[in-house]
């Protein structure tokens, strides 16, 4: 095997990939076959095993983005900058999936796909904030000041964690259609195979997230390198042109 593979793959990412696929297969077995239907919700409860894990992973992704933003503000290192972008992009995918699966689950349980409920609204705001964070990282100001662009992105990145707290506590602070915490309290409201399947789902989707984050981080790192090489090449071309131009005028 090559010491520097022409991809974002490594032995660690391959192990995580195998673990992800195996975990997803096991989770599908538990979520769709071996776990029982709910007395009240029937089989619609099986959507919980994908909805809750995507929500928890999305919140963790926001935490990583905020941490990376804070560390970038402190150290101004490229690694933290790339990590922030990678964590936010994968987090955006999971936040979107959380909203979609929640909407699908809402139809048979609440009778509606969408409601401007505090938790759904604050999660939508989180989604918009992630889009804004990723957009700000791409926007250049008129002077092309990378530090200012990084500063704006990092400040928005720091706002993600307080918003996650608002999402989490929204069901306690305001009247909500959404159910309160199921497993984060000391006395979980589910037990047995259902609790096991939910915890398995959180573990499996966390591994999937780490696998995606690893690859996305390396993509970001390569983008920075390729960008630097592009600038270097442009400078070389410009100097060569200038050299040819001055030579021609003599």
């Amino acid at each position: 095997m090559s010491a520097h593979p022409a991809s974002t793959s490594s032995s660690a990412s391959r192990a995580l990939g195998v673990l992800s696929l195996g975990g997803l297969a096991l989770l599908l077995g538990y979520a769709l076959v071996w776990s029982p239907a709910d007395v009240v919700q029937g089989d619609a409860v099986r959507i919980m095993y994908v909805h809750v894990p995507t929500a928890i992973v999305a919140f963790a992704a926001c935490g990583i983005t905020s941490l990376a933003s804070a560390m970038w503000l402190r150290k101004r290192s490229e690694g933290w900058w790339v990590l922030g972008g990678a964590a936010a992009e994968v987090g955006l995918v999971f936040t979107g999936l959380c909203l979609v699966t929640g909407s699908i689950w809402g139809r048979p349980t609440w009778g509606t796909y969408w409601d401007w409920d505090p938790r759904i609204t604050s999660t939508t705001l989180l989604f918009v904030l992630l889009v804004g964070y990723l957009a700000l990282r791409q926007v250049d100001n008129e002077r092309g000041d990378a530090a200012q662009r990084g500063m704006r992105g990092a400040v928005v990145g720091l706002l993600l964690v307080p918003n996650v707290a608002i999402v989490h506590y929204s069901v306690d602070w305001w009247r909500s259609l959404h159910q309160p915490a199921t497993i984060t309290r000391l006395d979980p409201t589910i037990e047995g195979t259902m609790l096991f399947t939910l915890v398995l789902g959180i573990a499996v989707f966390s591994v999937v997230y780490v696998w995606l984050l690893l690859h996305r981080f390396r993509v970001g790192w390569l983008e920075e390198r390729a960008g630097d090489r592009g600038i270097d090449q442009a400078l070389i071309d410009r100097r060569a042109e200038a050299g040819v131009g001055s030579g021609g005028s003599q």
Partner: protein, 53 residues
Amino acid sequence: MSVVASALAMTHAGYVAAGWVIPLVVLGAYAVRTVRRGRSLANRVPPEDRRWS
């Protein structure tokens, strides 16, 4: 066979199917896109910039 039978006997089977198929397809498509993008970029930078192995 019992798996198929239990799937057919499910209440809200369409919602359950959509709730699982959509995330798996989206995550799979995003994973493929990310890996392909990595391969394409990896060919544009020198090997010493790809520190992982």
